[in-house]
């Protein structure tokens, strides 16, 4: 039985760790108005470099810290120089997507190098605990607190007394004005990325020591926690990020004390959504401060979409429809079924992210809602599978729209953060709401696909079914985009202020987009549930959200045909070349990076 003091100490220590991540995010946001989604990957890299240093090189602790900080800083510098600097003049969504791609590449490289299995990271510190009041504190706690305080002090001195530090502060307040004082913004970016990466890397190492375990799942969690702390403290506000981190640590620790460990993240993301909705500038923003507006305006690369003649589309559809009649292997059909399911998700995302400009990073949650609804209805209420899938689509449309609606007033980056958090919340609710979702056990024995009482078991019938559903959704969406509604969507994307001035109700149109998109994604999830026969809270994860985003960018944002082509390409090509599963995510990350850099309008062009 731990005391409250213990929970407080734990909260502050964990908060300290978050602070090391969040301060870096705040520095980068301040200078570049960019949320660095690769921050958690650097944290992961730091943890593994720490492991190499401690376990293989047997470095003493102070040296370990220096090695980790230096190596992580180097990674940060490389990211800035080769990943982001070339994008300076691109559309504003580009750097955000690039950091996502970089994060996938780094995580996968770590996983391929060290295997996904967890490893122990011993702290080399004596295992004693001192009695403090009613709680206890150990040497590692003191180390973490010490590193936190020292970093804060060093950072303060740097920002306050060094020339480069002044440049960082000036650039984060007014980039153009700083340039007019002779500040070289590239050097400032370099400094900021180096510092952020060093702090992030050390943070990852400390966390590894704290739990005496590191694994590759740490990355996304760290990014999310850092972002939560940073946004709570006010994006770009460095002291705010520290306070936000400590607050987050305490909220989580007390939440765990009252409700149990599996609620930890739920509290973090709820805190984020509440802050985003009520005080998007953070808890400490003064009223007169202009809201930091990252990434508004031309968010999507404008381009002339490729016109594909109708006969070509019809011919392609006919070939794919007749495919099961040809002597093709089961394996080919299986692959294409996956492509059609991903295609439905991509249709949904290309509408939401491309057509109306809300770049969602939590789209897999819509799959999960559809899948659980359909699975539970058919299992517990004996609803026919066909109807259950439709119900899954409707539930996903309704619930997805309701969940996102408080965030409708957010723009640009903030939409991405909010959707990411909501996606995590959905997954955590599924994990914790055991009476309905069966919690961590998941749902097994989901009945197979069936239509009007006939089970669809042959690969060909499943293929036709999923293909038909996807084509129907695509046709519907194409109709929609050609209508007045589609034009209103794009008007909102291109300039929401002007759109509002013309009298368009943003909330209504955003709702419509999410309802339609939610339905398509929910149907895809529903079909998947009956195909897999087993699902749990991790079946539909952030990797799929990002895969869908890559598909959509590959095809061209907003482009219906592009979404389908992108799905076939990203699912099919790795199969065609027989690329081992563990390399696929790496390839997706690289594809995303290359697209952002060289062809932001995708293969078929944005619409």
């Amino acid at each position: 039985m731990s005391s409250w003091l213990d929970y407080t100490i734990n909260g502050l220590i964990v908060g300290n760790v978050y602070a090391l991540v969040a301060v870096g995010l705040a520095l980068i946001f301040g200078v570049s108005r960019l949320i660095n989604f690769a921050q958690g990957s650097i944290y992961l890299v730091g943890a593994y470099i720490g492991w190499v240093a401690v376990v293989q090189l047997h470095t003493p602790l102070p040296l370990t810290i220096i090695v980790v900080a230096a190596a992580a800083a180097l990674v940060g510098l490389v990211i800035e120089r080769f990943g982001l600097r070339p994008l300076q003049n691109s559309v504003r969504i580009a750097p955000l997507l690039a950091t996502i791609g970089i994060s996938f590449v780094l995580d996968q490289l770590v996983m391929l190098t060290f295997s996904p299995n967890p490893r122990a990271l011993p702290s080399q510190l004596p295992d004693v605990r001192f009695q403090v009041g009613g709680g206890t504190i150990g040497p590692l706690d003191l180390l973490i607190a010490g590193v936190g305080l020292t970093s804060a002090l060093l950072l303060f001195v740097f920002l306050r007394y060094s020339k480069l530090g002044w440049a960082v502060r000036a650039a984060s307040q007014d980039r153009d004005a700083a340039m007019q004082m002779g500040v070289d913004v590239n050097r400032v970016n370099q400094a900021v990325f180096g510092i952020a990466a060093a702090l992030g890397g050390v943070s990852g190492m400390l966390v590894g020591m704290y739990y005496n375990q590191i694994d590759t799942a740490m990355s996304l969690q760290a990014t999310l926690k850092g972002v939560v702390a940073e946004v709570v403290g006010g994006a770009g506000n460095v002291p705010g990020a520290v306070i936000g981190s400590l607050l987050l640590g305490l909220v989580e620790s007390y939440g765990v004390a009252v409700f149990g460990t599996s609620y930890r993240n739920l509290f973090a993301f709820l805190l984020l959504v509440v802050v985003l909705v009520l005080r998007p500038n953070g808890l400490f923003a003064s009223a007169r401060q202009a809201p930091p507006e990252p990434l508004t305006g031309t968010f999507i690369a404008p381009s002339r979409p490729l016109r594909i003649p109708r006969w070509a589309l019809l011919a392609a559809a006919a070939i794919f429809a007749l495919l099961p009649l040809l002597p093709v292997s089961f394996y080919v059909l299986q692959t294409l079924i996956n492509a059609w399911l991903l295609g439905m998700l991509a249709l949904s995302l290309t509408l939401v992210a491309g057509t109306i400009g809300q770049v969602s990073l939590g789209h897999a949650a819509l799959l999960a809602i559809g899948a659980y609804t359909s699975a539970l209805l058919s299992l517990s209420a004996a609803v026919p599978v066909g109807l259950a899938i439709i119900a899954g689509g409707l539930m996903s449309a309704a619930l997805g729209t309701i969940l996102i609606s408080p965030s409708f007033r957010l723009r640009g980056h903030y939409v991405s953060i909010a959707t990411l958090a909501i996606g995590e919340i959905v997954s955590l609710v599924i994990l914790n709401w055991e009476s309905v979702t069966r919690g961590p056990i998941g749902i097994s024995g989901i009945p197979p696909l069936s239509l009007f009482g006939y089970d669809l078991v042959s690969p060909a019938s499943i293929y036709w079914f999923s293909f038909a559903v996807m084509v129907a959704l695509a046709l519907l969406q194409a109709r929609l985009l050609g209508s007045h509604l589609g034009r209103s969507f794009r008007a909102i994307r291109d300039d929401d202020i002007a759109a509002r001035a013309y009298g368009l109700s943003l909330n209504r149109y955003k709702s419509l987009a999410f309802i339609f998109g939610g339905f398509a994604a929910g149907v895809s999830g529903g079909i998947a549930a009956h195909l897999y026969s087993y699902i749990n809270h991790e079946t539909f994860n952030t990797q799929q959200s990002i895969l869908a985003l890559t598909v959509v960018i590959l095809g061209g944002l907003g482009n219906v045909v592009g979404a389908v082509v992108g799905s076939v390409a990203l699912v099919g090509l790795p199969e065609l070349f027989r690329i081992a599963a563990e390399y696929r995510i790496l390839i997706y990350g690289i594809v995303l990076l290359l697209l952002v850099r060289f062809r932001p309008q995708g293969l078929l062009g944005t619409i």
């Binding site: 007014d174 153009d176 007019q180 070289d184």
Partner: protein, 244 residues
């Protein structure tokens, strides 16, 4: 009398934002030691001219030379190091930094610490009001005081030329006079000035030459004295647009 060799010359500038053309074959010169004023109404392309000089926007064609050398291939910080300082539109101070830090930011390109400290003292004699405000947040100052800080900040780099974007905009009449007087003082110290203004009557008081910009084209130019009496200028600017 011979006109001095120009310090700054823009020649044949055509600028675009996307499809929209902002400058049409724009040519402007600023003689050494002169105050040159670019007049024009709203959205005529004045601020964009400033940004072209500072390298914040690149023209599609034409050239910008400073002291005989082209600025086009240079980045903004490099241009600043050549000796051009700026007082941007709406001042653009670093709101959360102190007044002192703002002024010292102006000396960012310099490395002579002692001389910088002396120049800071000099600024305080030139702008006595700022003395008591040094540790205050720049964002908390009044518009007029902020303009003083912006001018002090620009002078701190010991520039050969200062470009100013509507330095009197939004100021009370008292401060307007003060700013114009200061511009003259700065100029007497040998700094050339290129200023962009909507307030033609005031600007023409202190300028040597002036240009009139209308939707991206120079429609009139010449000695300020002559322009002041030009009926076309009077009609277009001295009557109508004094509202601000």
């Amino acid at each position: 009398m011979t006109t001095p060799e120009p310090l700054l010359a823009l020649s044949g500038i055509n600028t675009f934002y996307g499809q929209a053309q902002v400058h049409f074959d724009l040519s402007v010169t600023v003689g050494r030691g002169h105050i040159v004023c670019l007049l024009g109404g709203n959205a005529s392309g004045k601020s964009t001219t400033m940004k072209i000089i500072l390298g914040l926007v690149k023209p599609r064609s034409g050239d910008v030379t400073f002291d005989g050398a082209s600025l086009l291939g240079l980045t903004t910080p490099q241009i600043v190091r050549r000796g051009i300082a700026s007082v941007p539109e709406a001042r653009r101070l670093f709101a959360d930094m102190s007044v002192r830090e703002n002024i010292l930011m102006g000396a960012f390109v310099r490395n002579d610490r002692d001389a910088v400290a002396q120049d800071l003292d000099k600024m305080l004699t030139l702008f006595p009001k700022l003395g008591q405000r040094l540790s205050q947040r720049a964002g908390s100052l009044s518009g007029g005081e902020q303009q003083m800080v912006a001018m002090a900040r620009a002078l701190m780099s010991r520039p050969r030329m200062i470009v100013m974007d509507e330095p009197t905009m939004g100021l009370s009449p008292l401060y307007v006079d003060r700013v114009l007087e200061l511009i003259r003082t700065i100029n007497l110290d040998g700094v050339s000035v290129f200023m962009v203004e909507q307030n033609a009557s005031l600007a023409l008081e202190i300028a040597h030459e002036a240009y009139v910009l209308q939707t991206g084209r120079i429609v009139l130019s010449g000695p300020a004295r002559a322009l002041k009496d030009d009926p076309r200028v009077r009609d277009a600017y001295l009557g109508g647009s004094e509202a601000a």
